[in-house]
Amino acid sequence: MKTIVLFRMVPDIVEELEVASDGKSLDREYLRLMLADADNHALEQALIIKERHGGTITVLGEDEPGMEETLFSALCKGADRAIKLNSSPQAGTHARAHWISKGIRETPDLLPADLIITGAQAIDDLDGLLAPMLAQFLDLPFLGTITRLDVNPATGAGTALREFAGGVRGEYEIKVPVVIGVQAAEKPPRYVPVAKLRTIMKSRRLEAVQISDGPWIFPVSEIRSMMKPQETTQAEMLAGSPDEVAAKLAGALLAHGLM
């Protein structure tokens, strides 16, 4: 079983996000990036499958601040190869999916792969478009918002549990190769002891892969301006006795068609 796990770095919102002076990007002075949470779960799910059936895991991410440490951390957890791709010159999920698909194709000995797994969403991809777009570029099937995944390496057939709104879940039969968007792994992502991480950073190397810019086969998007959400004054505070507040609340819910 050959698995590729894709990493992307997203802004760490422990620091407040500020718009830079150009008015169309984030101020990078204090911005720190961190691995998208769902990508961390994607790796965990890949590790669980490797522990069950063996195989290899390759982690791949674009060269961004913090990516090297993240890739080393994945090697600590049990990934076999770690690839740092030069970063995409174009912004946006569509461009990123195209860039990563090129990276996967151009990295030696990466394809064919059985599973290509990434997070179902990220805070800069709330629509969860990266994985389905990537599947399109790689001409592979796609299944997203997965919370459990298993594949029989002998037959290439497996099952995936998919979450829907309202607590409804569906079990799917899948066949590799397939692109999977992971919502959450079967168990929380494992811990990496820092001593182990420090050791592996000295003993292992990351593979650097350079791919060339273009041709862009679709119109690339451009950020024209970036702004903080506007403060609004729509909130209405309900005052009065509990009974009065309850009556006002019920009235408001009815008036907005919510009840």
Partner: protein, 403 residues
């Protein structure tokens, strides 16, 4: 770490590990254990632990240590130093042996208790276990009415480098203690400064809870920051940091004069006492923290401070000084409350506040920033938060100083 955002990979050093344990004198001495069981009797979780220290040593000597490592029993160690303080053979149980066992146990567990894992990850990434922005480490000074110098902004030499630590920097009740400390230092006319966002957790709980690599990472960062500035003394508000600086940082080049805040203030008591003009009318019982008290024997200094406050009467709990009862927050216990609860154990901080209640005191005074929130929570859980309040000794001093 947080300042640079990357893990350093500097030189490894010769560390005691479970494998090389017997090549160190502290390790070899374990073989002299007489199996008296004092450690079991004094351990706050000795009654619920499958493998208390006595049994672990015997399993080590008879070749059955794997059984210990495959159980989660040693997660009950809250690094309270009770077994080490009472051991008739003087074995380094809390400071050396048990963390090595815990390291192996945690590396074998299929899952680390999630609150604990998050605290360790936060400490590595942000330099504090709460996961707060390192840039906001000194945000509390904005609500402090006295001037506080941050060395990064004004690097002139200072007499006292006040090492504030995580809970005083970020926890709302810790910030109360930080403001009180600033007030007391200010009225004393102490020339002091803080490190602000350059400061990171000293890491003591990292090591005692097992994470030696995390400890090294934090230690390297903090030592490099100390080297940037000129000061006469480091005074820390956290007994865990004090312990770390004294016992571990010293081996890596930390050779500055060091004090904890309460003993430092006790040292200038002749100057402080005339400033304590407000009568408090409080009946106070003092909780000796494991790190400051049992491990570093600093028992008299906080009591001297309390005695100097007009109107304060000190009453002792049944267990005090060497016999103090742990609040349960050490050795990673701060982030294992949920784990202990799922095991059905009594919360140690609840056991301790019951003793405080029995004294009839109306204030439970502490010197460790972990204890304020732990004891306040315990009092709320037991429904006695109106009868007894929890205050850091320095909060009481600031109250005694008046406005």
């Amino acid at each position: 770490m947080a300042a640079t955002g990357s893990i350093s990979t500097s030189t490894p050093h010769c560390e005691i590990t479970l494998e090389n344990l017997l090549s160190f004198p502290e390790g070899r001495r374990l073989l002299s254990c007489v199996q008296c069981g004092t450690c079991v009797a004094t351990c706050p979780y000795g009654d619920v632990s499958q493998y208390p220290p006595r049994r672990i040593i015997q399993m080590l000597r008879t070749g059955f240590l794997d059984k210990v490592l495959d159980s989660d029993s040693v997660l009950n160690c809250v690094a309270c130093y009770a077994c080490e303080a009472k051991c008739p053979r003087g074995l380094s149980l809390t400071s050396v042996f048990l963390p090595l066992i815990k390291e192996q146990v945690l590396s074998r567990l299929p899952e680390i208790p999630p609150e604990f894992q998050r605290a360790l990850e936060n400490t590595l990434r942000y330099g504090n276990p709460m996961g707060e922005s390192p840039r906001r480490r000194a945000a509390w000074i904005k609500t402090t009415p006295v001037p506080i110098r941050i060395l990064g902004d004004d690097p002139r030499p200072t007499d006292v480098l006040w090492h504030v630590e995580c809970y005083l920097s970020f926890h709302p009740r810790g910030q109360d203690t930080a403001r009180a400390t600033a007030k007391v230092l200010h009225v004393l006319g102490v020339d002091f400064a803080i490190l602000g966002k350059e400061e990171e957790c000293a890491g003591e709980c990292g090591r005692l809870s097992w994470e030696s690599g995390l400890y090294d990472e934090l230690m390297e960062h903090n030592l490099a920051v100390f080297k940037k500035y000129k000061f006469n003394t480091v005074v820390t508000s956290c007994p865990h940091a004090y312990d770390a600086f004294r016992s571990r940082y010293s081996a890596r080049g930390f050779d500055y004069p060091l004090q904890m805040m309460a003993p430092y203030l006790a040292g200038v008591l002749p100057k402080l006492k005339p400033l304590l003009t407000r009568k408090l009318d409080r009946r106070v019982t003092f909780h000796d923290s494991c790190c400051m008290g049992r491990h570093n024997k600093l028992y008299d200094e906080p009591r001297a401070l309390l005695s100097a406050i007009p109107g304060v009467t000190i009453v002792e709990m049944m267990h005090s000084r060497d016999n103090t009862l742990c609040c349960g927050g050490g050795g990673g216990g701060m982030w294992l409350d949920t784990y202990y609860k799922t095991k059905g154990y009594e919360r140690l901080s609840e056991r301790r506040v019951k003793e405080a209640l029995a004294t009839g005191a109306d204030v439970l005074a502490v010197t460790c920033p972990y204890e304020v929130s732990r004891f306040e929570d315990a009092l709320k859980v037991l429904g006695f938060d109106k009868r007894v309040i929890v205050r850091d000794v320095i909060e009481l001093l600031a109250e005694g100083v008046g406005d």
